[in-house]
């Protein structure tokens, strides 16, 4: 494995290897001195063509804890806004000695474009491309689910775990990555959302699809993952308005109360409180939303370590 472009590229063996490496990274993160020398002298660029704070910070902290040198490139204020191509941007960074590119981009497939290009030699890590994939988020979510359902020491897969993902599946790279990775780990993944945001072709992606949230929740899932609802979807006629979306598809307090007490509530963030998730649900004991963020650092350390320290030294 040279790049991490899509959760669908990960075998069950590599997935478990990354998750279990993440546990070791969590040990490092719990120490007073949160630092390993593993990537000392290595250079990583966070190449962000789309706004993001948590993912960029998470990758930056992860790289620094492994002692890598990190530079942040954001499209805003860079020459991309003056019309520099992706190719020229990458050529420029690689000419400065960058070995790994953590790429966030508004176009689906942008990370694949760099990884497949003759003009790039860098290791590419997809940090979210358009409405396609966000593989480190899926790894983070899988680790969070395993820790909460199976305990901190568990090193196995997620066979038998039943997961429901709710909301805008059509535009969600988090949903796509989670569907791929959680199913690779043996989990049963169902999707729920309005038909405009969960097309019938979604059947081929998941184990079941629902167009009514209450019907779905009545099936008793181990994990309910709520997706962020973008306000601009209302303007492009996917749903009538925020009020109706919240009423039909939000994890209201009432719906939250109907869940088993063991059901985990997840959200990749940033949340629209009161729209897709109530504060009662988000702040409850069943909510693992903060753990998702915490685990994100360990998972990204594991990915950087695997791709830059292990895979590169194999060559």
């Amino acid at each position: 494995m040279r790049h991490l472009l899509s959760a669908s590229d990960l075998s069950i063996e590599s997935t478990l290897e990354i998750l279990n490496l993440s546990l070791e990274m969590q040990d490092v993160n719990s120490r007073d001195v949160k630092k390993l020398p593993a990537l000392n002298g290595r250079s990583v660029a966070n190449l962000f063509f789309e706004d993001s704070t948590r993912t960029r910070f998470s990758f930056e902290i992860a790289a620094k804890r492994l002692s890598a040198d990190v530079v942040n490139f954001t499209a805003k204020g860079s020459s991309v806004s003056k019309g520099e191509s992706l190719k020229d941007t990458v050529l420029t960074l690689e000419a400065m000695g960058i070995e790994a590119l953590v790429v966030r981009h508004h176009h689906s497939g942008a990370a694949n474009t760099i990884a497949n290009a003759a003009w790039s030699k860098a290791v590419v890590i997809n940090a979210g491309d358009g409405t396609h994939q966000h593989p480190t988020q899926a790894l983070t979510d899988a680790l969070t689910i395993r820790q909460h359902l199976k305990g901190n020491k568990d090193l196995g897969d997620l066979r038998g775990v039943r997961i429901l993902i709710v909301g805008d599946i059509l535009h969600s790279r988090v949903a796509r990555s989670n569907i791929d990775l959680l199913r690779t780990l043996g989990a049963h993944v169902s999707l729920a959302g309005p038909a405009t945001l969960l097309p019938k072709t979604g059947e081929v992606l998941a184990d079941a699809i629902y167009h009514n949230l209450d019907d779905a929740l009545a099936m008793g899932f181990d994990v309910v993952m709520m997706l962020r609802m973008q306000m601009e979807r209302m303007n492009s006629v996917f749903v009538p308005n925020a009020n109706e979306y919240s009423a039909l598809w939000g994890l209201s307090n009432q719906r939250f109360q109907s869940l088993k007490s063991s059901t985990l509530v997840m959200h990749p963030g940033p949340m629209n409180r009161g729209l897709e998730i109530s504060s009662e649900a988000a702040d409850s004991k069943q909510s693992v939303i903060v753990d998702q963020v915490r685990n994100g650092v360990a998972v990204r350390m594991a990915v950087l370590f695997k791709l830059l320290a292990q895979e590169s030294s194999d060559k």
């Binding site: 191509s85 176009h107 689906s108 497939g109 474009t113 497949n116 409405t131 396609h132 072709t201 081929v204």
Partner: protein, 436 residues
């Protein structure tokens, strides 16, 4: 060419008859054994002689986009593909929506001299879909425009489409529609389906094409005019056109070579070489299109040759330009997908690539039968070769999706008005272009 003329011996015509075709000057002087024995002989044993191909859908990019193609380079690529006539689309800069631009394009074609360059005029001013372009003046110009298209954009306004169809009746014109409902395809990137969902690329639903075709055939029926449907890409479109023809509506349809062979799964690589409008569809669509060509629902194959610079394809999928080149590979693709599969014979092949497009464009000097007195527009096609596409091209652009594929058959010689533009699969220096 020998001034006294040439005889192409032992050629096979589309109907299988073996004969000799003698050419003197611009015309065929005889077909058969009775030819002037003083003529220079080119032995064509094993080759199929067909009426020169006519492309009803070409982008030559001049004026305005000469970095991707010029009328000269596009004409040479066309000759290499066996074409003796191309119809450059109107989406140049300035747009071919007036007689000055179409006359200039036509004149540059004459100067290049490799093929007849028969311009297509825009339907609406500046391709904006609002007001009609100078349809009558373009028809009356030296370029004699009969085919009008806003290709790349759909004439989506029903009233404008109705008026355009009505207006061109006066001079037996035809509206060639790029069928794509713009509201159903905002930012669309690829065929809509399970794969677009997986890849996170905005889907391009089949209904966006089919709904426009359904509306247009009804409008053509209503006003009694001629409609031509460009680059049909879905099974549903074929069904709508089949229905319209069964009702006697005056509609013709084209398919591109790429929609007869390439499918959407190629998009999984995010390689923009496969980004094209209309998008590559499913295998089921490909098979339905082939069947429609065989049963006569689709009338012609047209290339939609769309050259683009390397930069506009060496980037993110979402930033890349739509289109692929196709003049040089068209005939081999039709042979590979339709003759080798047993769906059509050489007679139908010649109709698809020559007789029918010439008839839609109302050209009398192209698509003629290979008979005494016809213009010597002839392609000599070798059906026995198996050629691995290596990207060598006369086009200025390299956006060729077939590189590495092996295609069956190749163009050996092309004769345009008695002049060998291609001999032994090599472009000839014909010496009457103006050096641009």
């Amino acid at each position: 060419m020998n001034n006294a003329g040439t005889v192409f011996t032992n050629v096979s015509l589309a109907n299988g008859q073996i004969t000799n075709i003698a050419v003197v000057g611009e015309c065929i002087s005889s077909v058969g054994d009775d030819y002037d024995k003083a003529l220079k002989i080119i032995d064509c044993t094993g080759l199929v002689a067909l009426s020169g191909f006519v492309d009803l859908h070409t982008h030559l990019r001049e004026p305005g986009f000469e970095q991707s193609e010029t009328i000269l380079t596009g004409s040479k690529a066309a000759a290499m593909g066996g074409f003796t006539c191309v119809h450059p689309m109107a989406n140049t800069n300035p747009v071919a929506d007036n007689s000055a631009v179409v006359e200039q394009v036509h004149a540059l074609g004459v100067a290049a001299g490799f093929v007849q360059v028969q311009p297509i005029g825009a339907v609406t001013a500046n391709l904006e879909g609002k007001n009609l372009a100078d349809l009558g003046k373009m028809n009356a110009s030296a370029a004699h425009v009969t085919v009008f298209s806003d290709d790349g954009k759909c004439v989506s306004d029903s009233l404008v489409m109705r008026r355009a169809l009505e207006y061109v009746k006066a001079f037996d014109g035809v509206i060639a529609q790029h069928a794509q409902d713009p509201l159903l395809t905002v930012n669309a990137q690829m065929n809509e389906g399970a794969l677009s969902l997986k890849l996170g690329l905005t889907g391009w639903p089949a209904v966006a094409e089919e709904a426009i075709i359904a509306r247009d055939v009804l409008l053509a029926q209503e006003v009694g005019s001629r409609l031509h449907v460009c680059h049909v890409s879905t099974k549903g479109s074929v069904e709508v056109i089949r229905w319209a023809k069964s009702r006697g509506i005056n509609v013709t349809a084209e398919v591109t070579p790429h929609h007869l062979i390439l499918t959407e799964d190629l998009v999984e690589s995010y390689n923009p070489i496969y980004k094209v409008n209309p998008p590559l569809r499913s295998q089921e669509d490909v098979l339905a299109l082939r069947q429609a060509v065989a049963d006569g629902t689709i009338d012609i194959v047209a290339t939609d040759h769309a050259p683009h610079t390397a930069d506009s394809k060496d980037c993110e999928w979402g930033e890349a330009a739509f289109g692929m080149i196709g003049l040089e590979t068209a005939a081999a693709l039709v042979k590979t997908t339709l003759i080798d599969t047993g769906l059509i014979d050489w007679v139908r092949f010649e109709q698809l690539l020559s007789h029918n497009p010439a008839a839609i464009s109302r050209l009398t000097n192209q698509g003629q039968a290979l008979a005494t007195g016809s213009f010597a527009n002839i392609v000599f096609f070798d059906p026995t070769t198996s050629v691995k596409v290596d990207g060598t091209t006369q086009s200025k652009s390299l956006n060729n999706p077939y590189i590495g594929m092996t295609l069956s058959g190749s163009v050996r010689h092309t004769l345009y008005r008695g002049v060998l533009t291609v001999k032994d699969s090599m472009i000839q220096e014909i010496g009457n272009h103006n050096g641009n």
